[in-house]
Structure formats: C-alpha cells, structure tokens
Symmetry: C2
Subunit: 360 residues, 2 copies
C-alpha cells in the first residue's frame, strides 16, 4: 500500500524529491565540502530561486538554521533589547513568546482564543515595543492571518521589527515583504522536504537593529547569530557545516515550483482548501475549528470531530491516508489536514471522498 501523508509537517515529500535525491547522489552532493566552489554554487542557486519564488526585495538576506525553533532563539538573542509583543493564538505563536521570555526579555503576549485570530485593525501598540511576533499560519489550530491585515498593522506601526511565522504556509500567501522584516519557515511543511533545515529571511532593518544591540553590549553572540549568518550569506555560505543535501533539494524543489508557476500553485491551494472546508461544513460529524472564514488557513485545515478524532484518523491510516491529530490539548478532538503544494487536487478529492464514505 502506497501511503499518502496529509500530516501538517513532516508531510508528504514534494513529488520530485526522490528524483532529485538520486541526482544528488550521482553528483556526489553529500560528499562535497561546504567551503568548496561546488557548494557555493548550490547555495547561490537555492537562495536565488527562493528570492524569485517569494519575490524577496534586494534588501533581504536568506539564512539557514537547524529549524524554525532555532530562529526564535536567534531573534530573542539578536533583535530585542527589552520589549517584544506577541500575537498569540495557538501553541506555536506561544512558543515564540516563551522563547523570548526565557531569554529574560520583557515579552508581552496578547492572546486570542484558539481557533480565532486577532483583529489587527483595532490593536494599540506601545512605542517601547521593538519586535512584533505574529504567526501568519498557526499550525496548531489552522487559524491564519490575511496578508492585508499584516500590511495594515505595518502601515499603522512601521517602527517595530515585524517577525512573521510562515512555517507551514509559504509559498502560498502572497506576502509583501516590504511590509515586514523577518520571516521564517521550515522545509518539511509546504516545501515537502525531509526535516532538518530552517529558512530565515530578514531585511537590513534587522541587521541594523542587531548591530545597534551589539554596540550596546545587548547581543548574545552564537555560532549562528544573525550577523554571522548575514556575513556568510554574502559569500553564499553558512556559519557551520550545514544540511547540504537539504539545501540542494530545496533549490531543486523551488525551481520546480517556479517552472509550474506560483500563480498556478496558489490557485490550486484555494481549490484544495475549499474542498476541505466544504467537507467540514457539509459533514454532520465535522466542524471547522476556525469559524470565521477570513481566518481559515489555506494549507492546514483543522476540524473538530464529534465523538473524538481517533477513530477517523485510524480508519484513514488503515487505507494509507495519514492525517494529523489535533495539537496539544486538542489531540483527541481535532483532525489537521495539510494541503501543501505536493498534494494534488486529485489526492485531496480522494481524501474527502474517503472521509465521506467512512463510518466514524
């Protein structure tokens, strides 16, 4: 039985990954030095492809870390002297807040009930806030923030560093990177790669802030501090031996996405998520956890399951269809279904059909 993973990450591999992996082995990618010209070329190809796919402005740097979790530390250590503000609406936005607080900073959390999101048109932000943390796609609940709301927040409060968690949504939202400063994601979600690589894009405002903190002695230096990452990125290199294979594979997958066209990928994402939310609305035992339509994620659909989610998850797994359980406190009440770029319309249609036919 061929398994299909609709889990919200790690998830199904992008459908071209195995082929690229074979080519990587044929080309000895796992054996090349990360200080060689061959590596520099790979690094550059990957970051240039990403820059093109995401339409990153020129003042952005792309850095590689071990994970998105590491990036929370780096922002805590390198971009905040004292005050940060976090729009929390689930476990991942909360984890960023906790990371900053554990670094001894004054991290304020504004909390929206799980399954909902903040009304950014109404927020008031104190001028002492240096960094705003925001999960554009809260993987634990399936609540997303529309890009226009983020842009509105920025227009009202242009000064603080705006850090956007797009771990499980990129490349679907059409961000305006001029309206934010720091954005990060993990490759094992929408990019369909094996886990073990975080990608951090940040602009020159972040670098300036870090330099200011460093001068003031308020900067925790580490092997992967933002200024070291930025310095090595100029040479198309990393601060230490990276996950070369994943950096290579990411470049190949992004090139495949460019060849398909980001417009096409985004259109399919709309169709696939419409199928999922239609299922949640039409099925008597399912209910979208995010009730307000504008806050529904296009990549991670979360539903409450009447009587608990375990039976449905197991029945689907027996058919080789793997979906996610709820996150944290919702483990046994929710299902979470990823519709990432690797998931074809036909696969989502089949999953919906199977769920409709199952007795759970």
């Amino acid at each position: 039985m061929k398994n299909i993973f609709f889990t919200p990450g790690p998830s199904g591999l992008y459908f071209t990954v195995e082929q690229h992996l074979k080519e990587a082995f044929r080309s000895d990618i796992p054996s090349i030095s990360h200080r060689s010209k061959a590596y520099v070329k790979i690094h550059q190809q990957t970051t240039e492809a990403l820059q093109k796919l995401l339409q990153l402005p020129d003042n952005y740097t792309i850095g590689f870390t071990s994970s998105a979790t590491e990036i929370w530390d780096r922002m805590s250590e390198n971009l905040i002297a004292k005050h940060s503000l976090h729009f929390v609406n689930g476990d991942f936005s909360k984890k960023f807040h906790s990371a900053v607080a554990s670094h001894g900073k004054n991290a304020e959390a504004r909390i929206a009930i799980a399954g909902t999101n903040h009304d950014l048109s109404k927020v008031e932000i104190d001028e002492k806030v240096e960094l705003i943390g925001l999960a554009q796609n809260e993987t634990s609940t399936g609540a997303a923030m529309p890009v226009e709301d983020i842009n509105f927040l920025r227009s009202k409060y242009p000064d603080p560093i705006l850090a956007v968690d797009a771990v499980s949504s990129l490349p679907i939202p059409a961000f305006d990177f001029n309206q934010m400063d720091s954005l990060y994601f993990s490759v094992q979600k929408s990019f369909g790669l094996p886990a073990g690589l975080g990608v951090w894009t940040f602009n020159d405002r972040c670098i300036e802030k870090a330099e200011k903190l460093q001068s003031a002695g308020n900067y925790h230096d580490s092997y992967n501090s933002i200024l070291k990452i930025a310095k090595m990125a100029q040479k198309h290199q990393t601060t230490c031996t990276p996950n070369v294979l994943n950096i290579y594979l990411l470049g190949k997958v992004v090139q495949d996405m460019l060849a398909k066209g980001i417009g096409q990928i985004r259109q399919e994402a709309k169709y696939k998520s419409a199928l999922l939310y239609n299922l949640f609305e039409s099925h008597t035992k399912l209910k979208s956890f995010v009730s307000e339509k504008k806050f529904r994620s296009e990549t991670v659909g979360v539903a409450e399951v009447e009587g608990g989610s375990e039976k449905l998850i197991k029945a689907l797994a027996n058919k080789g269809l793997h979906i996610g359980s709820g996150y944290g406190e919702f483990k046994n009440q929710h299902i979470r279904i990823a519709s990432f770029p690797t998931h074809s319309k036909e696969q989502i249609e089949m999953l919906v059909d199977e769920i409709n036919q199952l007795d759970f």
Copy 2:
C-alpha cells in the same frame, strides 16, 4: 568516472548509506512526525546502537544538535561559569576556545605548534578551571592525542569537566568514557553520512554542573540547552524537529559497524593509516606534518608537499580521487587524506599507488 572522496569530511559516504536511504524512503521515514511512536523507536535504536558501539557507560546521555559547532556554544552557555582551559593545537581546538571567549567567559588557551601536540604528562592546571577542552583528533593538522594521555590527565585532574573533540576520529579511538565527561562528533566524517547532524554525548556530571549554573543564574537557556536535550533524550526525542533522516541513517550505519565488529574496523584503521604514513615517509616529495609518531591521527593523515599541494590534488581529482587540501594557512602546502571506516584497504592501497605513480 566513479569518484572516491578521501576528503576529511564531508567525505565518502559509508558504503551502505544509499541502500539504507532507499529503505528510508520505502518506509516513509522523511514523512513521519518527530513526536510519533515510529520516530521514538528510530531514535532509541540509533542511540542504543551508538551506546553499544562506543561502550558508553549508563550515566551518559546522547543528544543531537545541528553540528559540532553548535555544541561548542552549548558547552560555553551551559557548562562554564567563568573559567575554561583549552589545549589548542590547530584551528578546530582554537575555534572551541574562541566560542567560549565570545560568550564572555575567561577561556585560557595553551597553544602547541601546529603539527605537534601537548605533553599532558607535564601540564599544571589551576583549580579554578571548570572545563578542559581538548581535540583528540585535530582535523586541521592530523595531530591526535593518545587515549592513555587523556586518561592520565583525568587521573591527575579529576574535577574539571573534560570535553573531548572526536569529530573526525570516532569510532576509531577506544576511549574510556569514565575518564571524560563530554564528547562530540559530526556524522559527515568517520560515520560517512551526509552533513547536518552533530552528536553530543555527556554524562551526569555535566547535567549536575548545568543544574548548578542554572540555580546560580549563570546558565544561558536556548532551544537546545543541555538540560532540555537531556530531558527530551529520556523520552527518545529531541527539543525540536530534527534531521530525522540522518538520525535514522546513523542508526543503520552504526548497526552495520556493530555487525562488522569494532575490533575489525580499528584493525583496518591501523593498517590503512600505516599505508599513508609509509607513503609520507617513503615519497621524496611528501613529509608527514606530524613528526612525532604517537601523535599521528589514524583517521586523517596530513602531509607537507614539496613545491605545494595544488598540482597533486588536481592530478588525483582528474582520476576521480578526491583528497583534502591543507586547512587555513596550510591550504596550498598540505594534503589531508581521510581513512575513515568507509574507505576500504583496497581504496587506500590504490590511492597510495596512484600518488606513487604521479609526477607532481
């Protein structure tokens, strides 16, 4: 042309890696959650195999990081309040010293000339020193420290945390882990895996020290701090989404090594390094960079090349045989040749023959 990589890491893949990778994809390893039972089983299998291969005592924990470079930070942040002492004899032992110093600690460096090593029988260590850093195998120069010298140092100074860099030598040296506290390596060296995973083994003395520093407010917490790693390791998990594929592959390679027998692997290492040093001694244009025999690494052989190393390296590369250049300031004067467990006796013999036949 089939390339063979004798570079000192990244190097040739262990000869079973491709087969294990195919099995990993067949078993959907890249798509499983790092919080699933399936992952916990993989993690446990890998750490148990490593514990067996290295004969780690029960009071040791095995943790995973992004790289050995990250481990220098973690030791700086979690195991040293004020004073560390570093036996520096090349660029990697120096980098550990620099990392500790950059964290604002009082890091003393004792420096041996590159290509030599410290006489540990004669050193005097102040009682304020909390951690001793030592590169058992200095990858930049090919100078190694005999295990009995490390054991002697420990018998004389049992109190400081003894941290051993075995990045490019494990599993060849037969360490007595009761004579040290912290040991770390990278998988892309002797274990023949793709880069992107550091392995950190540490004992309960390290945990106690970290707890003491934490109580005293002298502990930098991070996503991958030693106490978080230790806590998650008890559950056979990691602090964040790790390089699952590499953790799986490491377990498989270690199991292969166990099946072959560590005695056999170590015997072959002796033979292969004897071939290399014999070449360095017999060839008119080559000279072992490490003159004192007891300090010669069994896994990374380094030689000075009369007239410079570039021509030889290129001529071998044209035949598909890839060896390393010198490190740092020795880039154009040295060659560095790895004889890791993946390198067969026949491959090293062939390499030696080719070098003997070449005009350079």
